[in-house]
């Protein structure tokens, strides 16, 4: 598929990135104001990764997500209302309040779910690709994971099989520089791309703050994966604006405020894409401001709705432990 060139495509990607940021800003406020049970992990700063990749996918393509998964969920087509309901443990949430932030899943849009085990979904994404190959659906699977997950042995086991069997899966490593509270260079020896290449897997490095670069590369690889040329590995250089989770406020012992400011001011994926869009004359700054304001209002309305929404009835506590079997 050729690089996207029409205004509609550009604005869809811009909108989706703004939607992720708006979702996260509201989720953070819900935590800070003690309205959200538990805690959550913010995706802010990494929007170009989820949007650049998911915009290259069809609804039937599958993704697996991580504990930092709101961005993937939005980018794959989820709605604010059901997402906020899930974060607040409400009945109308995507998982009827049983999964929460770390397990949000939206199977109708191909999101097989966030996963609270670091690296836990690497087999699942690879298995989704095996299903697609066996059933000849032409679907692909994208496995999102962080740099921290590259330390898990499961990745090497499934990359080996994916390469042996030419599975249509893309391993997308969002390298945000930190494995929880530790710098990635302290936990990762050698090069990440070399690890994939050792299995004969074609590996690419891309600027994860540049939505067009991410999207263009992904579209090319997805088209090839559909033809049986997979798997592929992508290392996306990006940055996490917040701490490991919303409660990780004082983080100067592992990274400086200057470093955070540098990424936020000069490498923000939304700001930079907006500048590019206006510079190219595709859209005016006023139109972009209008888009942002509209999305902010949508997010706030969804939060207000979710706060008032009902909790699941206590009778649901032992529902869904097992899936029903068809009557014989």
């Amino acid at each position: 598929m050729a690089k996207k060139t029409n205004t509609e495509d550009y604005l869809r990607m811009y909108r989706q990135m703004v939607r992720i940021r708006a979702f996260e800003d509201n989720a953070n406020q819900l935590y800070l104001s003690a309205k959200m049970p538990g805690l959550t992990h913010m995706y802010s700063g990494q929007e170009a990764v989820a949007v650049g990749i998911c915009d290259a996918l069809e609804a039937t393509d599958k993704i697996t997500s991580t504990h930092r998964g709101h961005g993937h969920c939005v980018a794959k087509g989820a709605e604010f209302k059901q997402m906020f309901c899930e974060l607040l443990g409400k009945e109308e949430g995507y998982c009827r309040g049983k999964g929460g932030s770390m397990h949000i899943a939206d199977q109708e849009n191909g999101n097989l779910g966030a996963n609270a085990i670091v690296g836990g979904s690497m087999g699942i994404a690879t298995g989704a690709a095996l299903s697609a190959k066996l059933a000849k659906t032409g679907d692909v699977a994208v496995c999102f994971f962080g740099d921290g997950a590259t330390a898990q042995g499961l990745w090497y086991e499934v990359m080996n099989m994916a390469a042996l069997w030419h599975l249509p899966v893309i391993y997308a490593c969002e390298n945000n520089g930190y494995s929880e509270y530790t710098r990635t260079d302290e936990i990762a020896a050698g090069s990440l791309t070399a690890r994939a290449e050792a299995f004969g897997i074609e590996a690419h490095k891309v600027d994860g703050q540049d939505v067009l670069a991410v999207n263009e590369l992904t579209e090319r690889l997805i088209a090839r994966a559909r033809k049986g040329e997979g798997p592929f590995f992508l290392e996306l250089a990006t940055y996490r604006y917040h701490g490991h989770h919303v409660g990780d406020i004082n983080r100067e012992y592992y990274r400086s405020k200057d470093e955070e400011s540098e990424w936020k001011e000069n490498r923000d994926p939304i700001l930079n894409f907006g500048v590019w869009l206006t510079g190219e004359g595709i859209v005016s700054e006023e139109e972009l401001a209008e888009i942002r304001a509209g999305i902010r209002a949508d997010a706030e309305a969804a939060v207000a709705y979710a706060l008032e929404a009902a909790y699941p009835d206590v009778s649901e506590v032992d529902m869904h432990v097992y899936a029903p079997n068809d009557a014989a």
Partner: protein
């Protein structure tokens, strides 16, 4: 009716279900041309090809994870785990992923997957190839656990497992692969959660699982010659557990011994005994006894290994004491 081995019964069940449902496939180490070390799957790759009988590298967490992902997306994988002891390698994929996907998604996702593996000591294979670890997985909500006690159960339970929409773990007794039993030629399934009363009796109930059903039956035979009438029950699945049939029997006999090859502490015998105590307390004339494997890693030496698992003599001995009104404690 013809007699076939347990190995053949499993093979037939899988072949029939793979013919019936094109979304099923087999995956594991040496499942194709080798047909597993126990030769249970021999011939399947010739019929179904390497697309549906998939040999993997020695990477249990990897192929288990792949099977979970395939099950979430329209396939019905049958995973072959060469030895039950290797279940520790796949615990995250089995217990954190497969078991919880349905619940965590509010019922939107499900994992129709069969994990077939084995249990059983006295094969002189020592501590890492002899364990009976079904209680570990029975502890995790979201998993079903089947324990076939003969070729007949092995076939009927396997077919039900493959059609179930949930992750099912089947533990076959690896010492029974060559044992024959009557198995009908025509199709049959054994529903989960239905215990089988193998022998009726009035004085004591012997509840045995898997290989311990034979032990219980042999003990019952011995006791009959002494005038003690023992009822023998095989639960067949421990999740779901047919509590009603067990309770009905114990209310009738007033005494029970639960026999299982897993370690005795915190195990299957403890769970069943506890339920009988809670729900049939006023019908009991003696404490419900547990007889599991000794709480030691399985030793290699035959002289040591043989004394770690319950025997018919041991069961009969305890049954005699219970029926004689001697309040005893489990060994």
């Amino acid at each position: 009716m013809r007699e076939i081995t347990l190995s053949k019964a499993v093979n037939e069940a899988i072949a029939e279900e793979m013919r019936r449902d094109p979304t099923t496939f087999l995956i594991g180490e040496d499942v194709a041309e080798a047909g597993t070390p126990f030769k249970v799957l021999s011939g399947l790759v010739e019929e179904f090809g390497t697309e549906r009988v998939i040999d993997t590298p020695i990477a249990e967490p990897g192929f288990m994870g792949i099977a979970v992902g395939a099950a979430l997306t329209g396939s019905r994988p049958i995973v072959d785990l060469m030895f039950g002891d290797f279940i520790f390698l796949i615990m995250d994929q089995l217990c954190n992923q497969a078991a919880k996907a349905c619940y965590m998604s509010g019922g939107k996702l499900n994992v129709p997957l069969v994990l077939r593996t084995n249990l059983g000591a006295t094969r002189r294979s020592a501590a890492q190839h002899s364990q009976s670890l079904h209680a570990l997985v029975a502890h995790i909500p979201g998993l079903k656990v089947a324990l076939p006690s003969s070729a007949y159960e092995a076939k009927g339970l396997m077919k039900t497992a493959i059609r179930d929409n949930n992750p099912v773990v089947i533990f076959e007794d690896k010492l029974m692969y060559q044992e024959k039993a009557l198995v009908p030629e025509e199709e049959f399934l054994i529903p989960f959660g239905e215990a089988n009363v193998k022998r009726e009796g009035t004085d004591i109930t012997l509840i045995g699982t898997s290989s311990m059903v034979q032990v219980a039956e042999a003990a019952a035979e011995q006791l009959a010659s002494e005038g003690i009438s023992a009822e023998v029950i095989d639960p067949r699945t421990i999740v779901p557990l047919d509590e009603a049939t067990l309770l009905e029997s114990v209310r009738k006999t007033s005494r029970a011994i639960v026999i299982d090859e897993g370690h005795q502490s915190f195990g299957t015998t403890a769970e069943i005994a506890s339920r009988l105590n809670e729900k049939a307390f006023y019908h009991l004339d003696a404490p419900v006894l547990r007889m599991g494997a000794m709480d030691v890693p399985v030793p290699f030496s035959p002289a040591l290994e043989d004394i770690t698992v319950p025997t018919a003599e041991g069961v009969a001995d305890n049954a005699r004491k219970l029926c004689a009104g001697e309040m005893i404690h489990a060994a």
